[in-house]
Every structure is written in structure tokens, then in C-alpha cells.
């Protein structure tokens, strides 16, 4: 795992806060005159500053609330940056507790004849969209925006969810000149603060005394009657923390990146402890173990695992004749897959609850995979839930409950963990849906202890291709293909052909492969997930070779030749993510036409990358009028760090050069 490298970069360095001040309304002529962002001249817009203050404060009506106040100044350099003149701030409505968003001080600044012109946002540019019953969006569109304009706005969010603070993003797809977040928390609330991304932030902390006035209303007995008020003053410590980032570059997406959010500098806060005076400390999460324990103690998680009554009668007969662990695992997995369908909602905890999901035959990830875990336990297996963060959800490097959004099941066997997910049609023991393949998960046992589980596949998935073909004197090609997919390759192939009419699949196969004509198409083990799946077909092609002069030029791999390097970028910022290790193997036998002889052949070659990252082997032998080739391209790691990018790119370059080398046949 590459986490070590990342954590090193994340070490905080502490400086004094710089003296520079940013305040709304103080737009300078120089800022308005600026034609381009100095360190990134291609930027269409830039955030000149973004300043947030988040404070847990007390008020008589609501108790403790979280108030976040954010000021932003954005410079628009080009028309393509006009999108930044439209802003949207989401808020939550669910649970009856509505977050309150107020937008204020929204102004557009322009330079007109050397003078600063201000245009205020009026109510006709502000909208409140009730998206659905769970959340809404406040939207603004700034007036009078042109190339060169600066816009400013401020918004305040009052939230009853003290434990759920918005992430603070320091980076966007445009550059950020200055971004700071200051938090004020009373000693009663302890937050974990987590940073993602590569930027260096300056952090300062300061503690000072603060107080709350409680008003107590008492109705006294007795003849006098009436109400008396008493006041309690409670003193506490308030911690102020400031995080400052300067000159942060724009984030730019690259191909084969897992999820750009993993690399975007972001601060997340999570409530880890609440310690009221004279009451026991309530701890939420401070390390992965206590995170796991906290989640396990949720009613819609741990309790759901203990329910068994709803399925016992159905499951018992299915398990009656199953002896080995593997048989039991397969039986339970297949049963859950057929009994309950995924409703496309994520979450590690149950949405409907296992009983209801079972009855209604549909549920979220938690409903299905916790039910799976319970059934595996019922079958006598040592099964436990594993918390997962999906690829889209990103990677969390620090312990927190919101890091996870998914759960799978693991059976601990003598041969190690068997990982299971019953929400996908083609998943299989240790073959998980692609969304799950994201670094590490957290396995929780019944006693609340937990351990990390590596989710990245270690086993190489194969693509084994056997091709037999002959070339005639006109350069036409006819032959057979047998292609076997194993493990993850099999899963992807099965997904690809799922519900696709064979006719449509063949049309695509023909068109994707140089418009060959495909016949005698068959599939083997399409449905039996325990076996590799195989497709076989015969083909004819008229465009597969080239006749130049009186010679025939053949790409020995025909339409399987890789002609383009997937890695076209010159440099690489983020790791390359292949998802799983793989090997593409080709065994090719070519028979050449009568009256022709080999003039040149590509020479056998081996390319190997350092650290056993991968290798390419190309071998060719002749016997009579038959040419035999064995070609293997194998990548052994799912994730390749950016330092190895240059090597990987060169490897692909070398492989492509070899694969595109031609066999030349001459007339004899």
C-alpha cells in the first residue's frame, strides 16, 4: 500500500498566520486590471480568496448549532470562466431539521474608465430550488459579469447537525490564491480533522475562555405564585484553529485516475467525542477500531446482523446437503443474489432493515450484505461485515465514520479471507464489483474488534487468446479465435454481454475488429461463475494485411494489435489505477500461402519493468509454412505510483513498437 508516501506529505507544518488581510468589498484596481492568473496563464478564473469561519455556538432556542460563514472572491479572466458567476449552495432538509442558508453581500466589480463599478446582486438573481424532500439548493447568478470582472459573495449556513460539518475544499479546477478556514469549538466537542491532498497548510491554534448564559425559569409554589428567573453562567475553553493555504494550483483530471477527489486538498471534520461536564464521555471515533465499534453499535448495523428468524426456514433446506465451507458460501451467496435485488442506494447501514428488504425483495447495500453476513453466520461460517469506501467515495486516510459508504461480507477461512458482495449479478467469492476495489476495508468482528482488509486484487486476471489463421496469396485472412477470460476479466466480459442481443454483440465485435466477418460464434460457461468464460468464433477479413508491391505485410496479432499508447500524457501527477493485476496472453499460429516465403520476421523480445511491475514477452518461431507466436503482456500491480509513470509509458511504447512490427512475405 502506498499510504506511507501519502501520510508523509500530510505532516502539518506550523507557522504564524501571515499578516495579509482579506476583506469583502476591498477589491483593488490592480486585481481588476489583472489579465491572467500569474502562475497559470491558462486559468479561465481564479479564487482570489475564500475565507470560512465555522463555529459551534450556543443559542437559547436551539442549543448548540454549527454556524459556518464563508466569504469568496473570484476573478473571471475569460468567457470560459463565466460558469463561476453562477453559484449553488446545497442544504439538507431531511429529518425535519432544516439547514438554513443565507447569501449576502454578493457584488460584481468591474473597472469602467479606470473606476471601480459595483453591481449588487438583487433578489431577481437569487433562487431557492427544492430539489426533493431531502435537500435543496440556493442559487445565485451574478449581474453584469464580463471578462475581467471580480465577483464576491458571502453565505452563512446554520446547521443543527453539529456532528456533520461541511468539508472545506482548498482546491478546485481553477487556481486558488488564498484559502483559509478558522474553526471555534467549545471544549465539549472534540473533532477529528483530516486532510487529503498534497498542499501544505499552515495551522495555528489558540485557546481562550468563553462563557454561556443559561436562563432558568422556575415556577415557585406558594401563595405568591409567579415565575422567578435565575441565570447560570458556564465558563468553558474555546479552541480556535486556523488552516491557511496559499497559491494552490488548479486540479486537472487525468486518464486512469481512480478519483480526483483523493488528491484534492480538502479538510474534513468529524465529531469524535462529546464530553459534557459531569457526564461520561461519549466517544465516536478516534481510531479505526473505535470507528468500527461505533458503527457496529448502530441499531441499523449491528442489530440487523443478529436477526435470523426471517430467513431460517428458507435457508435451512438449501444448506442441508452442503458440506464444505466453499459449498456453503456459494449456496448462501447465490441465494441472497436471487432473493434480494439492489435498489442502487449506497450505505453501510440498513435502509429498509433486513427483514423488510427480504420481504420486499429489494434493499440498499447495507440491507443486502448484512443479510448475507447473517446468513453466512447461520450456516456456521465465521463471517463478518467489512466496511468499504467505494471508488467514487474516495479514500479516507484518517479514522472517521463518514469514510465508509458501503459494506461487504468476509468469511475468515484457513486459506485467508473470502470477500463477498451479493449486490452484483456477476460478483463471486473474491471477485467483487469494480466499485469496491478501493484500497482497504475494515472488518468488524462480533466482539467489536476490527482489522484492515486489503481490497485490491492480488491474483492476476487472464485474457488467454488462441488464434489460428491462414493468409492467402491475395492477403485475405481466415481463421479461428478461442478467447478465455478469468477472474475480473470474466466479470467484465459477463457484464458486457449481459442482456445484449447476440446479433448486436456480433455487430460490435465485427466493427471493433477491423470489420471482420464473424461466424460460428459460441460461448462456454457464460452462466457458471466459478469457471472462466470462453468465446469462440471463426472469422474472415479482407483488410487485415497489406499488399505493397508484390509483398504481403502482416501484423501477426491482426485486430488484437495494440496500436495506441493509452499513456499519452508527458508527465503524471497521480497514480495510475488499473483496478487489478492482469495478463494478456496470445498463442498465434499463422499459415502462409503457397508460393510465398518469409522475408523478415519481428525478432523475439523481452521487456521487463523494475520491481516486477510487469513484463512483455514476444516470441516467434517458424516451422515449414507455419509461424508460431507466443506473446504475454502482464501487469502485476493494480496501482502504479506516478514515479513509475515514465517507465510504464516507455514500456507501453516498446510493446506497441513490437506488436506493430510486420511479418513480410515475399513471392518465391
Amino acid at each position: 500500500m502506498k499510504i506511507n508516501q501519502l501520510t508523509m506529505i500530510l505532516l502539518f507544518s506550523v507557522f504564524k498566520l501571515s499578516a495579509q488581510e482579506f476583506r469583502l468589498g476591498k477589491v483593488s484596481v490592480a486585481e481588476l486590471q489583472e489579465k491572467m492568473y500569474p502562475s497559470d496563464t491558462s486559468a479561465t478564473a481564479a479564487i482570489l480568496y475564500k475565507k470560512g469561519v465555522a463555529r459551534v455556538e450556543y443559542n437559547v432556542n436551539d442549543g448548540f448549532v454549527l454556524v459556518t460563514d464563508v466569504e469568496t472572491r473570484i476573478k473571471i479572466y475569460k468567457k470560459e470562466g463565466y460558469d463561476y458567476a453562477n453559484q449553488s449552495i446545497g442544504y439538507s432538509i431531511s429529518g425535519g431539521l432544516k439547514e438554513n442558508v443565507q447569501i449576502q453581500d454578493a457584488v460584481t466589480f468591474n473597472l469602467v474608465d479606470g473606476k471601480i463599478e459595483k453591481t449588487k446582486l438583487k433578489s431577481d438573481g437569487e433562487f431557492d430550488e427544492a430539489v426533493n424532500k431531502y435537500y435543496g439548493r440556493k442559487k445565485i447568478t451574478m449581474p453584469n459579469v464580463k471578462e475581467g470582472s471580480i465577483i464576491e459573495f458571502r453565505y452563512k449556513v446554520r446547521s443543527p447537525y453539529v456532528s456533520w460539518m461541511r468539508d472545506w475544499k482548498f482546491q478546485y479546477d481553477i487556481p486558488v490564491k488564498h484559502s483559509e478556514l478558522t474553526t471555534y469549538f467549545p471544549e465539549y466537542y472534540v473533532f477529528n480533522v483530516m486532510q487529503k491532498g498534497f498542499a501544505n497548510l499552515k495551522v495555528t491554534t489558540d485557546k481562550k475562555a468563553a462563557s454561556i448564559m443559561f436562563t432558568n425559569k422556575e415556577r415557585s409554589d406558594g401563595k405568591a405564585g409567579g415565575t422567578t428567573f435565575s441565570y447560570d453562567k458556564v465558563e468553558y475553553q474555546e479552541t480556535k484553529t486556523a488552516y491557511v493555504g496559499d497559491n494552490l494550483p488548479a486540479m486537472k483530471d487525468e486518464s486512469y485516475v481512480n478519483n480526483i477527489d483523493n488528491y484534492t486538498t480538502t479538510l474534513s471534520h468529524e465529531l469524535s467525542m462529546v464530553k459534557w461536564p459531569n457526564t461520561p464521555i461519549k466517544s465516536y471515533s478516534s481510531d479505526w477500531n473505535s470507528v468500527a465499534k461505533t458503527i457496529y453499535d448502530y441499531q441499523d448495523f449491528g442489530d440487523e446482523l443478529n436477526k435470523t428468524g426471517y430467513f431460517e426456514n428458507d435457508l435451512k433446506p438449501l444448506l442441508a446437503d452442503k458440506k464444505t465451507d466453499d459449498e456453503k458460501i456459494s449456496a448462501v451467496l447465490n441465494y441472497v443474489k436471487s432473493a434480494v435485488k439492489w435498489n442502487n442506494l449506497f450505505g453501510y447501514s440498513c435502509d429498509n432493515g433486513v427483514k423488510k428488504a427480504y420481504k420486499e425483495k429489494s434493499g440498499n447495500i447495507g440491507d443486502i450484505n448484512l443479510m448475507l453476513t447473517a446468513m453466512l453466520r447461520y450456516a456456521g461460517l465465521n463471517a463478518n461485515p467489512v466496511l468499504v469506501s467505494t471508488r467514487d467515495n474516495g479514500i479516507s486516510l484518517f479514522p472517521n465514520r463518514t469514510a465508509f459508504n458501503y459494506v461487504i461480507a468476509a468469511v475468515e477461512t484457513t486459506n485467508g479471507n473470502v470477500l463477498l458482495d451479493a449486490t452484483s449479478k456477476y460478483s463471486y467469492p473474491n471477485i467483487l464489483p469494480y466499485r469496491v476495489l478501493n484500497w482497504e476495508g475494515r472488518l468488524i468482528r462480533k466482539d467489536g474488534t476490527s482489522e484492515s482488509v486489503d481490497l485490491m486484487p492480488k491474483k492476476v486476471s487472464n485474457d488467454n487468446v488462441f488464434i489460428n489463421y491462414s493468409v492467402d496469396a491475395q492477403g485475405k485472412v481466415a481463421g479461428n479465435v478461442r478467447r478465455q477470460y478469468t477472474d475480473y476479466n470474466a466479470m467484465f466480459y459477463r457484464n458486457e454481454i449481459d442482456e445484449v442481443k447476440e446479433d448486436a454483440y456480433l455487430e460490435k465485435l465485427e466493427n471493433d475488429n477491423n470489420k471482420i466477418e464473424v461466424n460460428d460464434y459460441t460461448r462456454i460457461n457464460e452462466k457458471d461463475l466459478s469457471l472462466p468464460t470462453i468465446e469462440k468464433f471463426s472469422f474472415k477479413g479482407e483488410n487485415l494485411t497489406e499488399i505493397i508491391g508484390d509483398k504481403i505485410y502482416i501484423n501477426p496479432m491482426l485486430f488484437f494489435t495494440k496500436t495506441q499508447n493509452s499513456f499519452k500524457q508527458e508527465t503524471r501527477e497521480y497514480p495510475v489505477d488499473f483496478g487489478y493485476p492482469f495478463a494478456d496472453k496470445f498463442n498465434i499460429s499463422i499459415s502462409i500461402p503457397d508460393g510465398f516465403a518469409v522475408e523478415t520476421l519481428p525478432a523475439p523480445t523481452i521487456l521487463a519493468m523494475e520491481d516486477n511491475l510487469g513484463s512483455f514477452k514476444f516470441n516467434i518461431v517458424t516451422s515449414g509454412n507455419i509461424l508460431q507466436l507466443a506473446i504475454v503482456h502482464q501487469i502485476n500491480e493494480a496501482i502504479v505510483s506516478p514515479e513509475k509513470y515514465e517507465m510504464l509509458k516507455e514500456y507501453y511504447q516498446g510493446m506497441i513498437a513490437k506488436e506493430t512490427e510486420k511479418i513480410v512475405l515475399k513471392r518465391i
Binding site: 491558462s42 479561465t44 475569460k78 468567457k79 470560459e80 463565466y82 458567476a85 453562477n86 453591481t119 431577481d124 438573481g125 433562487f127 430550488e129 427544492a130 430539489v131 426533493n132 424532500k133 442559487k139 447568478t141 449581474p143 453584469n144 459579469v145 464580463k146 471578462e147 486537472k252 487525468e254 435485488k341 439492489w342 435498489n343 442502487n344 420486499e360 425483495k361 429489494s362 442482456e499 442481443k501 446479433d503 448486436a504 455487430e507 465485427e510 466493427n511 470489420k515 483488410n543 497489406e546 505493397i548 508491391g549 505485410y553 495506441q564 499508447n565 499519452k568 500524457q569 508527458e570 523478415t600 519481428p602 511504447q653 506497441i656 513498437a657 506493430t660 512490427e661 510486420k662 513480410v664
Partner: protein, 635 residues
């Protein structure tokens, strides 16, 4: 007045009785309907009752059997609503394959969501939709809804077939209307379908059809709008968001639109008028004046779409656009019109369908149509059209979004149907002039100047605004025939006056030529290879069309490495046919210098399904010849 009441009651009665005797088991579906189908529409029935000019009631009953997850989109169990359209009832019942009821979804269990999408910032339109996770396939959804609206300007178009990979068992449309509102209809693409018109009177119209087989999409097909049967309907006397309207003739409709909807929207503050007069100065020519104003609007404004109530049809006030600097197509067109008015240049709001698929306003069917607005300025006997939502279009350029189609120009004296500018195939030019050198190791280095005009300009001019990484990705994709491509200096010249975009690009690549033993092989045409990617389609059914033709002409100087002799040179090649003309020529200047000339003209046109293979072979010939290789031998 008892008769209509009885008629209404009777319709109800037949509807209910149908539902009761229906059997939703999949066993009754004919095999032919399952072919190529992800879903079968068992019944698709719409009953439209127009009570008066200001009231329309629509009942929908849709029964769909879904075979797999790709068929989920065919359920169509959703209903839009807003302030003037209310959903009176909506419900769905799900049945399993054998016709047993599994689940009933009531109105409160439908998801209620704001219908703001794409480029719209805000709209008051909302949607109720069914959210259902299939437990197993196949299953059947019976969906019923009833809506009521005061807007009668838009009677829904009726599509007998909703898309590809779906078949229709039975489809019924019933429309009733008072005989004095001038109800009219137009039928499209009925010829290949068996559609029965069961009633056609002055108060009622009904169609029925059954057994429409599922179709597969095919590349280069005309849009399904031009292939599938549909009925367009309208009223001569209609109502729209508080306004009564007339659509007897285009003149009358245009006059109504001008008088009722547009009127009073072009007032500008005196200050702005004075300012714009000062900017225009003493320019006299109306087109030159318009050019100055168009440039002013492009610099000042941006596109933001806010659609609330009548705001979906009536432009924002010009004075608001002047103050805020944003608006949608109507607002920005109208604002430009107001500015032009201030300097005495006449111009007209123009309604059309904006789409890269050319789509006409139906000239023989007077009604509210279109989804976009541009501005027309009289220019001699013709018009110059301005796309006012664009901040970078050249003046009068129509690109591929508004070109070559029938549009409605709204003049004060009434509406008029006009054809927009047609870009000629031979005017859609790409001219390449360049040079490249191959060194003795097979490495490539060169430079090229690419000039694009006509509709090809539209594809290219945005490259200049790409981010550096996007630019790099674009060229690496554009020249994906050159592996290991490295980009050098890139400069752009955007000549908006002549609508001509020029890219000057320096490139290099290692291992362009493949070397085996003492030979070097490479494709002569490095810069403009046509990949001929026209799909092979088994049993094509649809006709096909080439919407826009083009003319590419290339002249490239090639410098060969010293120490090599030419073993083989591709011969000159020419191909002529109904689809176009293609020609290449290699001229040997001296031992190490070649001149490569290539021209490719593609004709736009509509062709039959039978001609498709011919077209594919034509393009494949081109591709093969573009990939012709030269062989050099070491001396």
C-alpha cells in the same frame, strides 16, 4: 347540454372495462414483439379532452412489460407539472411475469423532484416519477395519470413508437375538442405503419394501431422524428400562461406573438441608448452598425436560462438584460433587437429548432413550435442571422446549430417562414499545408497549417479556448495515427471577419516509420488520414443521410532520410462517385523530396438503405488509400 357528459361517462366506462379484462401475463405477448425488444408496450393510451380554450385534461394509461434493465427507460412513468399544470392523479401497479400483482405505488410514493437540468439555472417546473427496483424480470407496470392545464398552446405530440429496442402491442389516441377552437392535426411518417384513423370529426379524433415491431438504431440514420409515425396537433385559438392566442396563419400568429408576448419588452434606459449611439458613431450602413452592436452584446452578456411561468416564452425585459448582463436566447436576442432599434436598424425575433440535426418549423402547420430564438436582420433580399447566446461566434455565422432549416421570422406585420443559411459542401473547407521529415532512424518531425472554413470552422475554433491538457489530448486524438506524438509550438489565428480558423502546429514523433532489417515503412499521409469508420450493419433497414459535406485539400512536402532509396511508392489514386470525389497524387521532386497532394469532397445528401454498403466501401477505399505506405531501402 347533456350529450358531452354522457360521452365522457361512456369513455370512462370502456376504459375501466378494458383494464378489468386485461391479463398482464407475459405469456400472451407474440414472439414477434419480443424480437429485439427490451420492453413491450402492451398498451399506450392517451385521452386528451380539450374542454375550452383554457382547459385541457390528459389521461395516460401505459402498460409496459420490461424484459431487462435496458428496458426500464421505456416505462415512462413520470409526469411534469408546474403552476399551470396540475397532476390530478398518478399511480402505478407492478405485476410479475404471470400477471400477479406485486406492488402498488400511490401518488405520495412517487418521487417529487425539481426539473432543472442542463443549461437551465432555475425553473419552476417539477416532475413526479416512479422509482421502482425490479425484483425480477420480466415484469409489467401499469401506469395511470391524469393532468389538467390551462395551457392549450402545446397539445402533446403523439408518438406511436417511443424509441428503439421497444415494440408496441397496442396504441390508442383519443382527442375531443369543441368544434369552434379550430383544432388541426398533421400526420408524419405513417406510410410504413399500419395506423387506423378510427374517428375524425369536428369534435373528435382517434387513432389506433397494434403490433409495431421493435427496431434497432442504425448509424447515419435520419433522426427518429423523421422515421417514426407521429401526429402533431394544435388549436387555432389557444391559451398560454394567461394569454389567449390565435394561430390561423403565420401572419396572424406572428402578429399575436409580437403584439401580446413581445410587446413592451424592448424599452431601454435613455443612458444606454445614448451610449450605444455614441459607440456606433456616424456609421451609416445597417449591417456594419449591427456588427458593432453584436460585438457589444457578446462582450457584455452571458447565457443564463431562468424559466418561470410565462418566462419560458416571453423574453426578459431588455432593460433587465442591460442591467444584469445575462439572459437566455430570447432575452439576449430581444436585447440585441432593442439596441439595434436605438440606432434605427430593424431586426426580427426568429423562432426555430436549435440542434445539430437540422429540424424545420413545420411551415404548413401554424402553431407554437421551436426551442430556440435568434435574431434576423434584413440584408438586401435576404437575412443575416445572429446567434445572440454566443460570446464568440463571428457576426452572422450559423455554424451547425441553426443552419439550413425553416424558421419563423416574427415581423410586426406578421410571421414569415424563411430558410436559414445553407453552407455549401465545397465551402466547408479544410486546407492543410505542411511539411515533414523522416530521419534515418524513422523519427518524424514536421509542421502544418490547417485552415478551416464554413461548417468545419465550427468544429475547430473552440480548440483555442481549450486548457493546455485538453489541447494536448485533442491533437493526440486527432493524429492518433502517429504514435508517440509530441507537440511543439501551437499558434492559432481566428479570422472572424472571413470566418476562417488557422492552426499552426509543430509536431514530432519517434518511431513513426517501422524499421525491419534494412527497410523503412511508413504511411505517406501523416496529417489527414480518414479512418473510414463506417460500421458494417447487418440488414440495414433505415435510409441514411450525410447532413453536411466538406472539402479537404492537403499539400504536404515530405523529406526522406539520406542514405535510403525508394523501393516502393503508392501510385496516384482517384475515386469518383455519388458520395464524393477523392484524389491523391505523389510528385517526386528529387531523390529525397516528395510532394503529396490529396483532396476529398464528401457530398451531403439523403440516400436509401441499399446505398449504405456502397458508401461504406467508398469510405473504406479512402481509408485504405490514406494508409498507403512507402517503402525505403538502405543503400
Amino acid at each position: 347540454m347533456k350529450t358531452p357528459f354522457i360521452a365522457l361517462f361512456f369513455t370512462f366506462f370502456t376504459l375501466t372495462s378494458y383494464a378489468q379484462k386485461s391479463n398482464y401475463s407475459i405469456l400472451t405477448i407474440a414472439d414477434s414483439l419480443k424480437e429485439n425488444a427490451n420492453a413491450v408496450v402492451r398498451l399506450d393510451q392517451m385521452d386528451i379532452t380539450i374542454g375550452s380554450q383554457r382547459s385541457m385534461n390528459i389521461k395516460v394509461q401505459r402498460i409496459v412489460t420490461v424484459f431487462n434493465d435496458k428496458g426500464l427507460n421505456d416505462i415512462d412513468a413520470y409526469q411534469h407539472y408546474d403552476k399551470t399544470t396540475s397532476v390530478k392523479s398518478i399511480e402505478a401497479i407492478v405485476y410479475d411475469a404471470f400477471g400477479n400483482e406485486i406492488k402498488k405505488i400511490k401518488k405520495k410514493d412517487f418521487r417529487d423532484q425539481s426539473a432543472v437540468s442542463g443549461s437551465t439555472l432555475f425553473s419552476d417546473s417539477r416532475v413526479l416519477y416512479l422509482e421502482y427496483t425490479p425484483v425480477s424480470y420480466p415484469f409489467t407496470v401499469v401506469y395511470n395519470s391524469e393532468t389538467e392545464t390551462s395551457n392549450t398552446a402545446f397539445i402533446p405530440r403523439w408518438y406511436f413508437l417511443g424509441g428503439y429496442y421497444v415494440s408496441v402491442e397496442k396504441c390508442i389516441l383519443n382527442v375531443t375538442y369543441p368544434n369552434d377552437l379550430g383544432f388541426k392535426k398533421k400526420e408524419f411518417n405513417f406510410s410504413n405503419f399500419n395506423i387506423k384513423k378510427t374517428v375524425d370529426s369536428d369534435t373528435k379524433l382517434s387513432y389506433e394501431t397494434s403490433g409495431i415491431l421493435a427496431r434497432k438504431p442504425e448509424d447515419l440514420s435520419p433522426s427518429s422524428d423523421d422515421l417514426f409515425p407521429k401526429v402533431m396537433m394544435g388549436l387555432e385559438k389557444f391559451h398560454l400562461e394567461g394569454f389567449d392566442g390565435t394561430a390561423t396563419t403565420w401572419e396572424a400568429f406572428g402578429k399575436w406573438y409580437g403584439d401580446k408576448i413581445l410587446t413592451g419588452t424592448t424599452t431601454l434606459p435613455e443612458e444606454t441608448k445614448a451610449k450605444i449611439k455614441a459607440i456606433v458613431g456616424d456609421e451609416k450602413d445597417p449591417i456594419k452598425k449591427a456588427k458593432i452592436i453584436y460585438d457589444y452584446v457578446q462582450k457584455k452578456s452571458r447565457y443564463v436560462n431562468i424559466a418561470i411561468g410565462i418566462g419560458g416564452w416571453k423574453p426578459m425585459l431588455a432593460s433587465d438584460v442591460d442591467r444584469l448582463g445575462y439572459g437566455d436566447c430570447k432575452a439576449l436576442s430581444n436585447y440585441t433587437k432593442a439596441l439595434l432599434q436605438a440606432v434605427d436598424v430593424p431586426s426580427y425575433n426568429t423562432i426555430l429548432y436549435g440542434d445539430s440535426d437540422k429540424m424545420n418549423i413545420q411551415s404548413d402547420f401554424v402553431s407554437m413550435q421551436g426551442n430556440h430564438m435568434i435574431l434576423a436582420i434584413p440584408n438586401g433580399n435576404d437575412y443575416t442571422f445572429l446567434e445572440c447566446t454566443s460570446q464568440d461566434n463571428p457576426f452572422g455565422y450559423q455554424g451547425t446549430f441553426t443552419d439550413d432549416r425553416d424558421v419563423l421570422v416574427v415581423k410586426p406585420e406578421g410571421g414569415q417562414i424563411v430558410r436559414t443559411k445553407i453552407y455549401d459542401d465545397k465551402g466547408n473547407i479544410q486546407k492543410d499545408k505542411g511539411t515533414y521529415t523522416i530521419d534515418e532512424n524513422g523519427h518524424f518531425s514536421g509542421s502544418i497549417s490547417i485552415t478551416s472554413e464554413g461548417s468545419q470552422y465550427n468544429k475547430k475554433y473552440r480548440i483555442e479556448m481549450y486548457q493546455p491538457t485538453e489541447k494536448e489530448a485533442h491533437y493526440k486524438e486527432y493524429w492518433d495515427n502517429i504514435n508517440n506524438l509530441k507537440l511543439g509550438k501551437i499558434t492559432f489565428t481566428n479570422d472572424k471577419e472571413n470566418v476562417r480558423f488557422t492552426e499552426d502546429v509543430q509536431v514530432s514523433a519517434i518511431n513513426y516509420a517501422s524499421i525491419s532489417a534494412n527497410k523503412m515503412i511508413f504511411a505517406v499521409d501523416a496529417f489527414n488520414q480518414n479512418t473510414g469508420n463506417v460500421k458494417r450493419i447487418r440488414n440495414r433497414k433505415n435510409p441514411f443521410q450525410i447532413q453536411r459535406g466538406y472539402l479537404d485539400s492537403d499539400e504536404i512536402e515530405i523529406n526522406l532520410p539520406t542514405g535510403f532509396a525508394i523501393e516502393f511508392l503508392p501510385s496516384n489514386y482517384e475515386l469518383k462517385g455519388k458520395f464524393g470525389e477523392y484524389k491523391t497524387e505523389i510528385i517526386k521532386k528529387d531523390n529525397n523530396k516528395l510532394i503529396y497532394k490529396r483532396s476529398m469532397l464528401l457530398n451531403k445528401g439523403k440516400y436509401s438503405s441499399k446505398e449504405y454498403d456502397e458508401y461504406r466501401l467508398f469510405m473504406e477505399q479512402v481509408a485504405r488509400n490514406d494508409n498507403a505506405k512507402i517503402i525505403l531501402t538502405k543503400i
